[in-house]
Symmetry: D3
Subunit: 295 residues, 6 copies
Amino acid sequence: MVLESEALISIFDNAVMLGDTVTESTRIFSHRPFKLDRLYKSLKVTRIDPGCDAQQMMRITLDVLDANRSWMLQADDCWLVHDISRGRSIAGADPTIQRSQATVMIFTQPLDLLSWARFYEVGCHAVTAMSRIIPPQSLDARIKNRSRMAYTLAEIEVKLVDPQAQGIILDVHGFVAENKGGNIFAITNGTLRTPRSTNCMEGVSRDTVLELAQQLAIPIAEADLLPYDLYTADELFFTSTPYCVMPATKFNGLPVGDGKIGPITRKLLAAWSELVGVDIAAQALNQLHRPTVDF
Amino acid sequence: MVLESEALISIFDNAVMLGDTVTESTRIFSHRPFKLDRLYKSLKVTRIDPGCDAQQMMRITLDVLDANRSWMLQADDCWLVHDISRGRSIAGADPTIQRSQATVMIFTQPLDLLSWARFYEVGCHAVTAMSRIIPPQSLDARIKNRSRMAYTLAEIEVKLVDPQAQGIILDVHGFVAENKGGNIFAITNGTLRTPRSTNCMEGVSRDTVLELAQQLAIPIAEADLLPYDLYTADELFFTSTPYCVMPATKFNGLPVGDGKIGPITRKLLAAWSELVGVDIAAQALNQLHRPTVDF
Amino acid sequence: MVLESEALISIFDNAVMLGDTVTESTRIFSHRPFKLDRLYKSLKVTRIDPGCDAQQMMRITLDVLDANRSWMLQADDCWLVHDISRGRSIAGADPTIQRSQATVMIFTQPLDLLSWARFYEVGCHAVTAMSRIIPPQSLDARIKNRSRMAYTLAEIEVKLVDPQAQGIILDVHGFVAENKGGNIFAITNGTLRTPRSTNCMEGVSRDTVLELAQQLAIPIAEADLLPYDLYTADELFFTSTPYCVMPATKFNGLPVGDGKIGPITRKLLAAWSELVGVDIAAQALNQLHRPTVDF
Amino acid sequence: MVLESEALISIFDNAVMLGDTVTESTRIFSHRPFKLDRLYKSLKVTRIDPGCDAQQMMRITLDVLDANRSWMLQADDCWLVHDISRGRSIAGADPTIQRSQATVMIFTQPLDLLSWARFYEVGCHAVTAMSRIIPPQSLDARIKNRSRMAYTLAEIEVKLVDPQAQGIILDVHGFVAENKGGNIFAITNGTLRTPRSTNCMEGVSRDTVLELAQQLAIPIAEADLLPYDLYTADELFFTSTPYCVMPATKFNGLPVGDGKIGPITRKLLAAWSELVGVDIAAQALNQLHRPTVDF
Amino acid sequence: MVLESEALISIFDNAVMLGDTVTESTRIFSHRPFKLDRLYKSLKVTRIDPGCDAQQMMRITLDVLDANRSWMLQADDCWLVHDISRGRSIAGADPTIQRSQATVMIFTQPLDLLSWARFYEVGCHAVTAMSRIIPPQSLDARIKNRSRMAYTLAEIEVKLVDPQAQGIILDVHGFVAENKGGNIFAITNGTLRTPRSTNCMEGVSRDTVLELAQQLAIPIAEADLLPYDLYTADELFFTSTPYCVMPATKFNGLPVGDGKIGPITRKLLAAWSELVGVDIAAQALNQLHRPTVDF
Amino acid sequence: MVLESEALISIFDNAVMLGDTVTESTRIFSHRPFKLDRLYKSLKVTRIDPGCDAQQMMRITLDVLDANRSWMLQADDCWLVHDISRGRSIAGADPTIQRSQATVMIFTQPLDLLSWARFYEVGCHAVTAMSRIIPPQSLDARIKNRSRMAYTLAEIEVKLVDPQAQGIILDVHGFVAENKGGNIFAITNGTLRTPRSTNCMEGVSRDTVLELAQQLAIPIAEADLLPYDLYTADELFFTSTPYCVMPATKFNGLPVGDGKIGPITRKLLAAWSELVGVDIAAQALNQLHRPTVDF
């Protein structure tokens, strides 16, 4: 257990040398348990041996959370991240063999929602990138990994249109795939639709929304969506671990529906807030309105 | 300038968090100059500001080389690597904006050729991966980057066939693209062919071979190659910065040509050795036959 | 009606000259009726005129079965195969026109399950091929045909990993398609999933499993499956006419689930055994343990 | 050595069961030698062991030619075909392993040019198929094989437009690939263009035309051709072993150029006739005008 | 409001210069209301400002209908079409900016069903085109637009097979997409299947059929259909605004089912006729049997 | 011959109803002859019968030019456009049959270069669209046609980044294809490269540049270009009929080379100016600096 400033790894670690790291990010609401299933799926598929099983990993993780409890403000939740690389890269050696112990990085961070907070009030501007998502026969997005340069470059393209824009990356057929770290939902005539999990990362937040929608009797469909579906949607939103649900009220410069955050989006956000016992939007907006703290 | 054991970066660096690092690797032969053009091309396309221009970078690099001169054995060459990330990742901030200084990592390493050395004598076994290369509309391989999980996973697939195999990754159309860190050449009826640079990284070693072939009046062609072309080739070899030219004498379990290293491959390796004033194969085999040193 | 050793056709038959043969294979359980619908669909789409309608074909087929009844051991079932080619190829003539009678080959064979029998106990090793399935816009896999060189070559690739491996061929997008003569099922969180029939042959065994699953109230889905889905599945199995259900306990070198044959696979195999009144696994294992007979 | 009527193989041969046969067809002009290189390339890539090396195969082949010399008319050339399958298919056994000797079929046939003869005078009608060629990542067309159902079905589609039409099959991107057994050439502004060998079978006749063109100083290019290029070509022709060069004067119902056989096509056919010492067109037309013989 | 002969636009209008027109066609049954939703969706996605909102457009449209009421025969319905272009194209100006008022063209026409009428009795011949539909990442077919040259050219290809044929255009993967102005339905084993709306225009008639099928308890599925599915279907029909439901009894030269119009097709046509209070087939056949009038 | 304000066509013309118009645009420099070859190629492929042959069309065209000679200012050149549609669309009739005379529209316009003029001094900003070009198996870009909605929509996307941006449309593989009405050239290390004509319209201006480059001994290559090639190019320019050569000095927000118009671009523009005896840039800039005239 080290301080943030002492959390260092070798520049010869495979995390740096090859982006050979799997990851999982969780938002820790007050008392909510979390799971490490997906992390262990990613570890299996990439054949990284983390050096301990899921139970031991859970114990270590809880220790990390305990150690960080002190600094967490009452009203704020935190962000819990696991990064596990294939360990030390050895010059000239086969990089696919894990010769050393895996590098296990676990950290919590206060949830900084500043960059998204105002979108809970006015919605964000969703913009499609020019580049296309990495197809699954090259790298399956469901392996949550840290080789994410393609996502960063796509997001940069999106910012050319609007520096505040949130990106939508299409797949090589032009279907809507995912955001750089989140999923996309469109509501048309009361039905909630989202891309199939074969061309997007299967986010935990995505699952939560699908479950909440089912509880609220909102019809749902995993579908092939095209930009046309987003242009003509009544409502649009992103999901991701930090912000949960982020309404989009503009798509490629045109208003989504009437240009305001829609009722089903609000309903889902309210249901989620209730589920976790935290007013998610209020918590974020609160950050916006209090004096900034530099972490 | 720090010792290898002190070459550490924060786990919050974008190098770790997003594989958001461009790189360039050079093999430093005795007196050979090297260039940083490609590194600056990668920096431009990824919009990473390294904090200094190419001239300054060259000066710093030469300092690093000087500092490491002492440990370099007479007979061995070294490996010079630049890794430049977008700097510190800040929780909740737009990762596409470089808020801090870039993280510039420059290091030299002794060239460990042990894993390849015996291939100079008997040739290696080239095997095609099941997965396909990331297509350029997702991430152009000519951006030399450290988001290389897809390459590692492809290489692991290849090792299922033969733990010593060297991988050949096809593109989404089934054309031969590249090796995890090198290029592929086939010789058929005296013509040297290699995949077009639109679906492979444009390696410096690849360029060197093309130039040497031109000097030796060996006809060359950038072409769409299929596994059929490799099965029926007379000779096959890989190129990469550490080993320069690595003959392959087996492809997917079948002998290439007569199963021995071919004359054109030998000619190119000899020409390269002459160019740099070092017997490249002998140097590697020398490592194989002397007592191992653990770095 | 001729003996096996006398079942000969001309080397100028379109079966040999063009692989221009449609086929249907049926496993004849004790008293089970069988259908010729699919055979007649294949005949229609390929425009081969078999020279008799489905009823007549059924009568001839029953005669063939009768003639072979004597040699069939009590405990063993048999394999019934129809092969119908476009008939004699005439030098220089348009091969798409059927100038002569179709060549109708009908035969039964004892079901030799030796190569699969032990997989009922320990499961097989499923391995993905490097090549991709023929896409339906080139040749629809639902036309059951004898132009199967692509399948043989893919299966050879798979054997490079493990000579006992059973192949999984992906489509050109990287989605799981089919085995060289069978279908693939994955079970994850209790749901049984199999590729859509648009990129695999629609096997009779596949249909049987889907029906049995429905009867057993196991949720089923035709889906786009990727290798990731197989790596992270709890259970995996193949279906094909000879072996019905063949568990796979290893995928590309990694254990499937806990590496043992799973409960839903067992349940489906039991249901099938009950349906046909034959303990399918026992019958196969019985072959394994009795003295080999060379047919 | 058997008579044609006795040239039979088992219906259990892999030739029949799996279309698992490689082939090579040669047109034997009066005194011309021929080569077996391509046949041995196909055997290598498919891993079929023919049981003898190329020299022995040549001796056997010459014996077959000798034995058939008697019936060959003075003026006619013959067709020499090799078909080599993986041998006997054994029920339940792994079809990818060659357990028995390969089945080697070698035969000569009189060249029946009746179906093409009149095209030497008026040109044929080239028509594109609706289906697309098998892509090389599924089965490389350069493996000359007998799994050709896709070609037969494409040719049937073409005959829907015109029962005399000669088919042009496009690849999955819409580029011109090949004819069911031949190659396609277009002449525009004096340049002779033909599809790259990565999406067509690399016919011997194709090579001959490229060599003749070079000798005649006709500019040549391997290129991606689209239907547009054929619609707007000045001349169009097919090449294949039996007919050598076959002019096409109509494409999808529109005249090619002025609708007559063009000068460069004539020049190439003349050069070929000179090369082999036979007036190729006259020989074919001769067949047309003499009393039909049924072989 | 002008006479047909006076309905002229400038040749400099973007309708002519760029095919930059969105459209909507409606068949006006006796008293049926119609909607302009789709038209406004197309306008939104293409960013054409029609100069009035949907309500105003409805009022103008009703005026057009009123003005044309006089000439409409009792028994005939009419065709109502909206064409809205981006207005005047100005030489040298950015064509994507709408500098002038949109050109709004609204007209009614008597429904001339002559070319389809006899198909209600005998069914039509459906034929697949050689070219492939424009993929949605190039232009989404759900934007109902007048840039339809690709459809015209595909239809011309189809007419090469049979001048009366109705075209079926496949997508770039070979899946059935749409007809030049209609949708395609196949019935197999009692289930009604039609391509997903992601690769076809989402016709109003298509929706009507899906709704009628639901009311009639006919199972429906949006699916990936291949030519194989049409070859082996029991029934096949097209839907489009003018003819509603058009049975196809032949597909690429082969009979569909028993070659007669099927019971489910008849049922759906009857239900539609009932819905609109007009015997749709009778009305068309009536046109066929009365003296032709040239409009 | 009518005045511009009287140049009207029926809204029932296929030009309006189906975008079924082929076109050719020529810039008429002082005394330069022009050709109608391409127009007649487009007419042939689309099977539109213009009602007169190329010679007659030329005569009519020269008459149109003569009639407009009076208004042409001394210093300005003009724009000559042919638009030929399949004629009148008849309700209910097969639109692929040309029942009436083709609609032949020929007009000249003063060359308004205002929107491009300043780019001769500072270069323009080239930006890639999100959508992809129509692939040639759907509609070959070399058919110069007026069904251009896809181009307009792509251009609108580009304007989201910068209202002055000039668009670059990629093909479905991500390769650089074309501009909405022009071609793209990149210069890297002295070599001039441009996309192959299989995925772009083969502009006359493109040909002119290739010819001028050859005369100037500038190495040229038709190649698969990716955005990476444009990001790292030394110079970049567009070609199109109105502006001839238009330098781009910014690509997706980054400077091209040093951000200034490059020497080879200038050389080519100078050579073109010399060829036609008009200082092309000066002529455009002259328009910029004189009082605007509204046409």
